[in-house]
């Protein structure tokens, strides 16, 4: 599936970002805007998403560095959906969370798709991996 970059309002211009909308189990009313982040190893979501979705975070917590600060995370297996593609992958739910978008990383997202990114034309293409 080909997805156009999302046009975001900068102070005086438009900034394109590779955002895809991913549904999380327990939150059927809307997908979450997620940044495709090839530099992130795992999926990192706001812990508030887990609270809204009723996802139990009754697992040992970890502390990781993200965005220049120490963050508490709880990593659980979650069902995610993008378009017609559904997959189960670990998501680290993070607190505090300062990012505007959830982050889709290598192991929990890119491992499942073949990514083609054409920045010059502001689109990305995701093909499910067999």
């Amino acid at each position: 599936m080909r997805i156009d970059f999302r046009a975001l309002p900068g102070p005086n211009s438009v900034i394109p970002r590779p955002i895809v909308d991913v549904f999380v189990e327990g939150l059927p009313r809307a997908a979450l805007g997620c940044l495709v982040d090839t530099g992130t190893l795992h999926n990192r979501f706001d812990a508030g998403v887990a609270r809204e979705a009723g996802i139990s975070l009754d697992v040992p917590q970890e502390t990781i560095g993200l965005g220049g600060r120490w963050i508490t995370t709880w990593t659980v297996e979650v069902t995610l959906r993008l378009g017609d593609v559904t997959w189960e992958a670990p998501v680290s739910f993070c607190q505090p969370w300062a990012a505007d978008f959830q982050l889709l990383g290598q192991e929990g997202f890119l491992r499942w798709f073949r990514l083609t990114c054409e920045v010059a034309n502001r689109w990305l293409e995701l093909d499910p991996q067999e």
């Binding site: 999302r6 909308d21 009313r29 809307a30 805007g33 982040d37 809204e52 965005g67 978008f101 502001r122």
Partner: protein, 135 residues
């Protein structure tokens, strides 16, 4: 040095290389070579992700170049502009609802039995990378 047929392979290779570089330069996007800046047309917060001295960035194949490119996504971005820093539920170009938190937005959708294509917080400054270190 020429071979028996009078061909200079080194000279030919150099010519080929020169021509390749010239074509590469022509392919490069004027916005990335600084031409728009010299014309005084560059937006102050245009993405600074590219080495402006480089001449190797691929050009858009859509035919949109330089100053025309600055209008890309403007309509979509302007819909979001009043909501910078707030969470939005969005379907196409319709802002379904906004709120100060994820919980507020999903609570509204549930309370009004509505759905949306996506929920996210509109960045105050979308040029900031999530992995960048705050000061």
């Amino acid at each position: 040095m020429r071979d028996r047929e009078g061909v200079d392979p080194v000279g030919e290779a150099r010519s080929f290389l020169r021509e390749s570089l010239r074509r590469q330069h022509l392919r490069s996007d004027p916005a990335l070579t600084g031409d728009d800046f010299l014309r005084g047309l560059r937006a102050p917060d245009m993405p600074q992700i590219h080495d402006r001295n480089s001449t190797t960035a691929p050009q858009s194949t859509s035919g949109i170049t330089g100053t025309e490119d600055l209008s890309w996504g403007a309509a979509e971005a302007n819909i979001l502009r009043p909501h910078r820093g707030r969470f939005v539920a969005l379907t196409g170009t319709e802002v379904v609802t906004t709120g100060n938190s994820l919980s507020e937005v999903f609570g509204w959708l549930k309370g009004h039995d509505r759905t949306a294509a996506t929920v996210f917080r509109v960045p105050l400054d979308p040029t900031v990378d999530p992995g960048s270190f705050p000061e």
